[in-house]
Symmetry: C2
Subunit: 449 residues, 2 copies
């Protein structure tokens, strides 16, 4: 199984065990939405209870096992008016202090509230030491925001290639080539799609998505759709289509296919990477598998409740007429408008540099320009045991202080070289960065020509 992938698509060739673990280990899982399963299904599931890892099925966790499940049922029955010998459930099973009435530490919560909403620094009712503490934390966070953090997408894949010459489009022939080459080595069970794409910044057309769904149906693959950039669509004519919607609109037999769609507070117009909020929506899963999945999740820690609350706000944004609606919309449109401008500027400026070419940034937050590297530079890199684009990126860093990611870290067609840069720096700084890359590139070519 290759450890890297190209562009925004890759097969999951893991067996069912690995797939389940992968799905469960996604840290931004915090809510599961499940769709009703059509009982008259004609096609067996890709992920059936029989094929699940027996170790998952054997998990028993007393602190949150069947007694706690029964307690939840009893709570529901009481709420529905059932008469019991008691009026409420007393949960003495887990050491959850605040749930049983302990008051939160005021200083701690003040510091956190100040970190999350620094406007409160002006509030005289907050003590100075809480303010100082919060200032210190914020100064240590990138961008003075506690929303800073890290994110990681599915690193174990069999890769296939997108077509750079036609705007990172998806070719069914390439998908077929890749799966045919993989079959002798493993049993591909799922296809992962990141749309809009990372690192290529491409937005799949509806036709692309239909093709992928048909291909997945033919090959009996579970679809895992990373749709965390769904709000980040900039190019004229580009539009986000969710896999679930397309799948449902295609009708039978496609509307019974298994799908997991992922969403996060870290991207979009929110950019709250530090809060760790997200969800996965599971569509058409075997109900027995859902039971095991929920059990396995319940034997793990939940994600931070602040992240869950943030995700809830994003899936239920303020509505017209509500006091926060206008400000919310304004902030959203400002962020997305700026990203659109930055995306266009990025590809335009790259394309104005000799030896660099870049497809339009249709969506997401990245550009993935191709760089032409002279033979001498490739040899110099080899002498240092580096891929040529890694060598280029090291030099860029040392010369200019700019930190980008070599294309070889994502996978790319043999003999081509790329790097990935975000389009996030403020407009002016981004302009300086792009000019700086142009100057560096010209000097680099001079040196190694």
């Amino acid at each position: 199984m290759a450890a890297h992938r190209l562009g925004n698509l890759g097969f999951m060739a893991a067996n069912l065990t690995d797939k389940t673990q992968l799905a469960m280990s996604a840290k931004h899982l915090c809510a599961i939405k499940t769709d009703q399963v059509n009982k008259s299904q004609t096609r067996s599931k890709v992920l059936s209870i029989d094929e699940m890892n027996p170790h998952v099925k054997n998990i028993e966790y007393a602190v949150r096992g069947p007694i706690v499940i029964r307690a939840g049922e009893l709570e529901k029955e009481l709420k529905q008016g059932a008469k019991k010998k008691f009026n409420s459930i007393l949960r003495a099973n887990i050491g959850d202090c605040h749930a049983t009435g302990q008051e939160p530490l005021i200083f701690l919560r003040q510091v956190l509230a100040l970190c999350l909403y620094p406007e409160l620094m002006k509030d005289p009712s907050f003590p100075d030491d809480a303010k100082q503490r919060a200032s210190r934390f914020l100064a240590a966070c990138g961008g003075n925001s506690i929303g800073k953090g890290f994110s990681l997408n599915y690193p174990f894949h069999i890769s296939y290639y997108l077509d750079e010459s036609s705007n990172w489009s998806l070719s069914l022939d390439e998908l077929k080539r890749s799966i045919s080459e993989a079959r002798p080595h493993c049993k591909p069970k799922a296809i992962c799609v990141i749309n809009p794409g990372n690192p290529t910044g491409q937005v799949l057309t509806r036709k692309n998505i239909e093709d992928i769904i048909k291909f997945a149906h033919e090959e009996n693959l579970f679809i895992m759709a990373d749709e965390v950039y769904q709000h980040n669509v900039y190019a004229e004519g580009s539009e986000f289509h969710s896999f679930k919607k397309v799948l449902m609109e295609m009708g039978a037999p496609y509307n019974e296919m298994e799908l997991a769609s992922f969403m996060s507070t870290s991207k979009g117009y929110m950019g709250e990477c530090g809060l760790r909020g997200g969800y996965v929506e599971l569509v058409n899963l075997d109900p027995d598998v859902i039971v095991q999945f929920k059990k396995a999740l319940s034997a793990k820690l939940c994600s931070a409740v602040t992240g869950q609350a943030a995700m809830n706000v994003i899936v239920n944004p303020p509505k017209p007429g509500e006091p926060s609606f206008e400000l919310f919309e304004k902030q959203k449109n400002t962020v997305l408008g700026q990203l659109k401008e930055k995306g266009k500027m990025t590809s335009d400026m790259f394309n104005s540099i000799d030896g660099i070419s870049c497809n339009p940034v249709q969506g997401a937050m990245y550009a993935f320009p191709k760089i032409e590297l002279p033979k001498k530079a490739v040899e110099a890199a080899q002498a240092k045991g580096l891929a040529a684009d890694a060598f280029y990126c090291f030099n860029l860093l040392e010369e200019t202080g700019m930190c980008v990611v070599p294309g070889s870290g994502f996978g790319q067609k043999e003999g081509t070289w790329h790097f990935r840069t975000t389009i996030l720096p403020p407009l002016e700084q981004l302009g300086e960065m792009l000019s700086g890359i142009g100057e560096f590139h010209s000097k680099f070519l001079d040196k190694y020509s």
Copy 2:
């Protein structure tokens, strides 16, 4: 490898791979402190680089690989006054919006600040919809606090037994029995200690800890000390001793032993389960192992930044003279004082019930009373395929609405039955709960005698 353990101690019999994964998968890891390694060490490490899982060593993650490490070094050099062609590092490698100047969504942050510090509900500058949203979240959280959550301690162990007849004390003979029985089946590499104990609520004496350290030294075991209840010590004469302190004070050869100590914001006087803050302190680890550990952590998501900020407050509480010191101390002492009272009340009331006995709750947040169950009840449980104490707990739930955890979920000496209850409910409610258990127990005995 048994899937359950007893009391607050258990061997880690996992191989090095498992151990590393386990350490890394602890969700509340957010900071690593490492101690200087004595280069003249006479004893080889339990966890050496050669024995590490080669898959961990082979991890490469471009987005945060050597180029990003170099970028960090350059930042340091710039800070120390080094002259470069640039004044700062521009991080265009990851899509971290707030770090590059994007403004957080005001509505979202307002909602979160209100959730964390509901006192702000009175602040007229916060819009009503943000307040309503926060109220709805808080109502859905146990105890109206966003600090509610779940926690899970090391579930894969070879278990051994604590001596209930002498206050859950630790016997070296029992440790030796257990490891001798385990050796033919696996290669024990680590010993896990939870002190103060869960589910037994016991606090280890300094002599106990010294014995465990000597035993671990003799058997060449890595010590993993879960010390998250270090503030929760109530009994007269009981005192918390950290493994690190005891190990260091014992001097050579013990002060060179490998130790990992875990701490969390979820317990103690904080009880912030929902924030997911914590750390592990690594002592005397092989520096090559540390490098791999950091690399593996950097290829994962960090924990929520709110949790990291909370942990920072707890390890640096307000100092005397600072404005928040008195309130902080008052809240801390109130919580711990109430827990002390509740712990005493819990064991006293259990011991006043015929057929129930309970050791004093010296620390942590739990009582683990022993229940005598009549033969007929054991048979009725067997007929339902349940452990007798699980059957008892199901009946307790259905009859009284009280949810506790059967001792069979933790492991207990053959033929004995227990359950674990927290001591967290407010005093009055705890009293009612304990009386309720007494009444239930007497009826249960009548029914099955």
